[in-house]
Structures are given as structure tokens and as C-alpha cells.
């Protein structure tokens, strides 16, 4: 199995997020053709049922749509939808764990804010 995948999440979920990420960072634009199930299987060497499960969920959520006989495409408004969804999980997945870890290490709120500002600043310098 490819090392791009970690152990803590179902693989189909990670396949899904992989495509979502490509849409979020504009590697895949709305209207673009998304990679086919077989392309993903051959590239990542993961089971084709697993890949299909991830891809089908994106279709159900209206992120991708199928053109019969042609392939999968990125739907209109897909990026906006994803940003909204990811913001919702941002709190649970990132902020919550950040605060948890900070508590463990005894980092105060103001220290934490200062760290965030630092990172933001160095980000802009690049």
C-alpha cells in the first residue's frame, strides 16, 4: 500500500480527501476531468472497490459528476461546497487537538496566539 495513506482513517475516506484537496488547491478546477477509478487504482495501488467507494461518495455529495462513457468531472460550485464542509471539521480536527496538546504542555492562550501569528508571518514571507 502506498505510503501516502496513513493508518488512522479508512482508506476510501483518504482517497476522497485526496481528490478534495486537489480541488481545494486548484489542481483540479471546476469542469475539469477528474482521474478515473482505474487511474487512481494503478497510481496508488489500492483496491478498486475502495477507490470506487470514495469516488462515489463525492458524486453523491455533488462534488463530482459522471458523464456517461466519458468519465468523472468536477462539478460547478464544488470548491465552495468543500470549503464550507472543511471549515466545519476544522474546529474538531485541528483546533480541538491543538488546544488539547497545548493544555498538555501548559501553553497559555496568549502564547498559543503568538505562535499562530509567528507562523502566519513566516508564511507570508515565503
Amino acid at each position: 500500500m502506498s505510503k501516502e495513506f496513513d493508518d488512522n482513517k479508512p482508506i476510501f475516506q483518504q482517497v476522497k480527501e485526496l481528490i478534495e484537496d486537489q480541488i481545494l488547491n486548484d489542481q483540479l478546477k471546476e469542469g475539469d476531468q477528474a482521474p478515473s477509478t482505474n487511474q487512481l487504482v494503478n497510481f496508488y495501488k489500492i483496491n478498486h472497490v475502495t477507490v470506487a467507494k470514495g469516488v462515489n461518495q463525492l458524486v453523491e455529495e455533488g462534488i463530482l459528476f459522471k458523464k456517461r462513457g466519458v468519465g468523472m468531472f468536477v462539478a460547478e460550485g464544488a470548491k465552495e461546497k468543500l470549503v464550507r464542509k472543511r471549515k466545519e471539521v476544522f474546529l474538531d480536527d485541528y483546533v480541538f487537538r491543538l488546544v488539547q496538546e497545548a493544555d498538555k504542555l501548559g501553553i497559555s492562550e496568549s502564547e498559543m496566539l503568538e505562535m499562530i501569528r509567528q507562523v502566519k508571518r513566516s508564511d507570508q514571507d515565503v
Partner: protein, 290 residues
């Protein structure tokens, strides 16, 4: 769509029982992975399906009809296996002519495309091809004949890694374009597990399990951490394998863990990871432990 049904099938060779009371049903356009250890009964199982031999007891039917000595049904099933081609002096192209005559769905254009992919020469006698090329030729026949039920019994023997890659790619491509039932027996579990919809494991002549890939693989969980904590967490679970390094212990558990159990494991500082089909296979068939 096709359905293969076996009811309490046994095969006896003199004083050896190769298959014991095996029942199963395979249905639909899926890629089945048939795995089992050496001598487990895979080839016997497949040759029954293809009506190459008759069961000693029980019944095998395809779409409700017996397959043995049923020419109409046999036309719908192709079994490709490690044929001994040392006396086969026909050229590749003549062998394809034969296929054209006997296999109604045979697609010549597709066969030519595949020959090219595998770099097989049309004008060479089959027995002058290398072992790997003979295997590739079997793959070409299996794919291009487009029989509704296509069985590959360890068809990759002798193929080098790049050639096997081509086989896997073309198989998936074909399954996308012209879905049908494929049954592949293999020992190369980790290399081929991405192809399978469903898994059948045969062990010592018996059907050990038949399950779809996802649910089978999700049943294997590895738990790693402090030995005492691991022992406590896994005490009421089915353990397939244990390894220990100092105070760290890794245990392979068989059986799906609920979300609350997963959370409990993580809260206790245990690492929870997936188990590959290969590892499951090894430890499900590795002996008499109960």
C-alpha cells in the same frame, strides 16, 4: 449476468480428499480472488468450475444448469492455467485462429492490441516463447475470448514484474469496459489485492471464507503498545498473531472493533492499524491454533 453455485461438493483422489463438502455461490460481474496455501485445493476447485473434471459428490451449476459435459455451458467458461507448451509448435497467430473459431465473443482487434502490449510475436511457435511469454499469451487468450466467466489459475507464472503490471492494468481496463466474472487464483496476494471485489479462501480442502474485500480487510486490526495494556485490551478478542519486542507488543486481532473500542484503545495509548489481506491470509491459514 452469471451465477455459479456449488452445493456440498467433494472431490476424492484415491485416498486423498482434495475438496470437502464445499458450498458457495459466486454471482455477477466481479473479480474474485481465490487464495489458499499450496495444496489447499484451488486448482481442483477451479477445474470443477470449468468442467475439466467431475465432482465425486455434490453439484455445480451455472445459472441453474449442470456444467459437466454440458457443451453449451462450457462455451461460457474459460479456464487459463499453466499449460505445458513444450510440444506446441503452432504459431501464436494460428492459435488465435483456433480461438476465433471456438469462442463466439473473441475479439481479434483486442487480441492484437494485447499482443502488442505484451510484446508477443505473431510468427513464433508457442513452444519457442519463454515461460513468461507463454503466460502472457494465456492472459491474451483469456481476455480476448471475452467468455462470460473467465478463470485465471496462477496465470502469472514466469512473468516478470513489469509484465504482471501490464496484466493487472489491462484486466481492470477490460473490467471497466466489458464487465464480466473473473476468478483469479493467486499466491501473490499483496501484489494483486487491489484487483479483487471479493475474496474466497480455501484451506485444506475446505472453504474457509467468502467475503467482499472491504469487509474482510476491515476485520483485521493490529493493536500495538505496552504489552500489559495490549493484553488487557485484547483478552476477549480473537487473536491471530502476536509479536513482542521488549515491553512492546503487537497483536493482530480478527473481528471488527466498534468506534467506542477504537477510542478506548487510543485513550489507553495503543496504536490501532489496519492489517493487509496478505497478513490476514497468512495467519488465518497458518496452522492448528484455535
Amino acid at each position: 449476468m452469471y451465477k455459479i453455485e456449488a452445493k456440498e461438493v467433494s472431490v476424492n483422489y484415491k485416498d486423498f480428499q482434495a475438496l470437502k463438502n464445499v458450498s458457495f455461490s459466486l454471482e455477477g460481474n466481479k473479480i474474485y480472488g481465490l487464495i489458499g496455501r499450496n495444496g489447499a485445493g484451488k486448482t481442483t476447485f477451479l477445474s470443477l468450475l470449468a468442467a475439466f473434471q467431475e465432482a465425486s459428490a455434490g453439484q455445480i451449476q451455472v445459472n441453474g444448469e449442470d456444467v459437466f459435459e454440458n457443451p453449451e455451458m462450457m462455451e461460457k467458461i474459460a479456464l487459463l492455467y499453466d499449460v505445458d507448451y513444450k510440444d506446441e509448435t503452432e504459431k501464436v497467430k494460428n492459435m488465435l485462429e483456433v480461438a476465433k473459431r471456438y469462442r463466439p465473443n473473441y475479439d481479434d482487434e483486442y487480441a492484437m492490441y494485447l499482443l502488442e502490449r505484451f510484446k508477443l510475436p505473431l510468427d513464433k511457435p508457442i513452444n519457442k516463447l519463454s515461460k513468461g511469454m507463454q503466460s502472457a499469451f494465456n492472459v491474451v487468450m483469456g481476455l480476448a475470448c471475452r467468455t462470460p466467466i473467465t478463470i485465471f489459475d496462477e496465470v502469472y507464472l514466469g512473468m516478470d514484474a513489469p509484465t504482471r503490471e501490464i496484466f493487472y492494468k489491462e484486466l481492470l481496463e477490460e473490467q471497466t469496459n466489458r464487465p464480466r466474472m473473473f476468478i483469479l487464483s493467486t499466491h501473490l496476494v499483496s501484489e494483486m489485492d487491489h484487483l479483487f471485489d471479493e475474496i474466497v479462501i480455501i484451506d485444506q480442502g475446505e472453504m474457509l471464507l467468502h467475503e467482499d474485500y472491504e469487509s474482510l480487510v476491515s476485520k483485521g486490526v493490529s493493536i500495538t503498545g505496552d504489552a500489559d495494556v495490549v493484553d488487557q485490551f485484547t483478552q476477549d478478542k480473537e487473536i491471530l498473531n502476536e509479536q513482542r519486542l521488549g515491553q512492546t507488543k503487537a497483536v493482530m486481532v480478527y473481528g471488527t472493533l466498534g468506534n467506542d473500542e477504537l477510542e478506548k484503545a487510543r485513550d489507553n495509548g495503543l496504536d490501532v492499524g489496519p492489517v493487509s489481506l496478505q497478513d490476514l491470509f497468512i495467519h488465518l491459514t497458518d496452522g492448528e491454533e484455535s
